[in-house]
Symmetry: C2
Amino acid sequence: MSCHPDRERPLDGDIDPQETVPSRKNTVFVDGVILNGPTTDAKAGEKFVEEACRLIMEEVVLKATDINEKVCEWRPPEQLKQLLDLELRDTGEPHHRLLELCQDVIRYSVKTNHPRFFNQLYAGLDYYSLVARFMTEALNPSVYTYEVSPVFLLVEEAVLKKMIEFIGWKEGDGIFNPGGSVSNMYAMNLARYKYCPDIKEKGLSGLPRLILFTSAECHYSMKKAASFLGIGTENVCFVETDGRGKMIPEELERQVWQAKKEGAAPFLVCATSGTTVLGAFDPLDEIADVCERHGLWLHVDASWGGSALMSRKHRKLLHGIHRADSVAWNPHKMLMAGIQCCAFLVKDKSDLLKKCYSAKASYLFQQDKFYDVSYDTGDKSIQCSRRPDAFKFWMTWKALGTLGLEEKVNRALALSRYLVEEIKKREGFKLLMEPEYANVCFWYIPPSLREMEEGPEFWAKLHLIIATDVST
Amino acid sequence: MSCHPDRERPLDGDIDPQETVPSRKNTVFVDGVILNGPTTDAKAGEKFVEEACRLIMEEVVLKATDINEKVCEWRPPEQLKQLLDLELRDTGEPHHRLLELCQDVIRYSVKTNHPRFFNQLYAGLDYYSLVARFMTEALNPSVYTYEVSPVFLLVEEAVLKKMIEFIGWKEGDGIFNPGGSVSNMYAMNLARYKYCPDIKEKGLSGLPRLILFTSAECHYSMKKAASFLGIGTENVCFVETDGRGKMIPEELERQVWQAKKEGAAPFLVCATSGTTVLGAFDPLDEIADVCERHGLWLHVDASWGGSALMSRKHRKLLHGIHRADSVAWNPHKMLMAGIQCCAFLVKDKSDLLKKCYSAKASYLFQQDKFYDVSYDTGDKSIQCSRRPDAFKFWMTWKALGTLGLEEKVNRALALSRYLVEEIKKREGFKLLMEPEYANVCFWYIPPSLREMEEGPEFWAKLHLIIATDVST
């Protein structure tokens, strides 16, 4: 049964819902608890939310995006612990004290929306996805069944459909999940289920050694996924890349043959569209050829680079992506949807995703509901409760349109281009390579090293000074 | 490099940051994109956020908790698709139209904070965690490294420490993650790593058949986890439960012996504190004895029942939990922290969690940073970017104190007790069993069946009419 301490429904129907203090004679007293009447002062709670919203608006939405403000009030861990009152106590704090705490949390947090904040993932503040996020926090839905999340499930369907269109598939399936790393896990598990559906019930014990291929420049989640899924990191075969960080298809094929010769069972190739450090795009078309020849699942980790699909000018970076079996794509990066907003997309429409992931929990996914239960997509997920992450991207897309999203991508890449030209002009900076995406890799050469020859001693010294990768 | 379209930093320093339209003569034009000057009207964006916040306050925070309003404006999928403008187009929509869309989304969404909304997980609206959620959405942090999330990482540490104290461990470790299902996966993987650390690199192929034990009433995520982790659902041994849905320790031990006899390798027992349907608590002390005798990892899935630890009156339900090796506990359920707020807790303090999960990505977890890098907890996680879920629980705890949280739990269980007494009094209702937690299971017997004997025909007919489990 449910407990709703606020605005509590009167018990036994003998208390006026407008009344805030129950009359004593009708008090329902069970196990030492008075059950009727509100336990929380809703008016005070609402006022607190209103005041906090004002604070958030001023201190985060306005001030934290202001170029004249600091990105961060930096304090090392031990000092910050002294400054913040982190301790959880027996009794609660009054509202004015909580608002001071909120202020402190904001003060010492990094302003990730600030124009001078440079770190992985971030691309600034988007007002539309922010509103969507406020809405979903207030509504607090869980997208497992249509009856609990009707709107957000339809929104997810609409967004997935559109993303599938941009990949270039005629149809497909997918699910939003908490991270590109998790998307890559979804792919790895789905590929091995396709390879051998028995694995779901029987597990890997006693099977030949499953082996997968990815580039040496891939995201570290490939190793995490392989170990989590029981495949083992030694069974991730890291294929050599060229000077630009792109997987060499001939090397891939050579390694597939080698693995087969050793009695291992190749089942998956994970190509990367937009590597973490160099921003490299693997040659998907050639890799797809290798996969076709060997009957391997092709997953493309486009968590970072997928956004280029929105730009008619830059989508050629992912040429051949329509041939992938699955794709990971995170609109929370260049498309600014807020952490996290990550889609795992699958070309298959024969319900492979559902077959692989379903556990058919009868308390949640009853089959005799009064609506089309194919909308109860929760059983495709490794999660039970799940956040409506598609909604924030939907809102931004609605606000900016496809053309507005395209402009964001074009602008990000033009800014990189601008930075590259500035680096070339400036003394003491050395470009690592011409970028093809928004990652610009360069060295800062301090004055003491500028006249030195680029031998082992030069590199050893340079590594001790600074090694910077500045990505969007 | 980073793109910050809003409040853009002037390029080449020749444009006044206060100016909204760059003077044409200084325009920086790269690849068809004008780079200087803002691309978005920040003033209009801020106004939009303000208006949307007002709408959210009125329509969700106030109206959706009002007993006189509807829980849901129900529409079946096809009809709702007609009512909502879901399509994503080339051009964006103006602000007034976006606000109408927000209104529609709210109208047709289920009001999970409504006092008459009864479904799994939910316990009403908590103003404090709501404010924390608004704050983190605005700040948009990712808790992987201290330099990006200093405050939220310290908050997570403080909350984990306190939860560990309530479990009764002297010390421990842990990580917040997106769901009880995922916590159970963490446990399963950690237990097998402890059993055989080589699995991380070598995988399961060629190993003896790993086998784990859980009760027949456990959460369905056990099966999901076993299949995802490559263990296989057939290697989940479902131990018989007693009439109240509690695992029978003698049966557990019998099955462990049986598995060993068959050459399988038992490595884990997953007990449940608060089963999904009946709200049953497995006898942890007796189960811990079995685990000790056989050297098995004991994980307790207290996703639902963990909250009882906050109540001096009810924490006896989890008697023996301090003997567990790991615990899953979701404050987003009875403690109302908002979806998702899920802790995976580990008794080990020898860095087992980190050893098991780390991939040591050098672009993110550099070891030569200028602060204590043990605060870069991201490498303990299966995710890369991660949300600061501990913060919303911290805020509620700060606001209510331990005593306030205890009151929430006591009140929920007193309400269940009240419902039980009402069911007993009311004709046509039949209690399934006396509850020990907040799950109250009962049958509704329609008038046509009230005189019928409880034979096979009675049950067949009753199943066709209604089978309801109403949990908090």
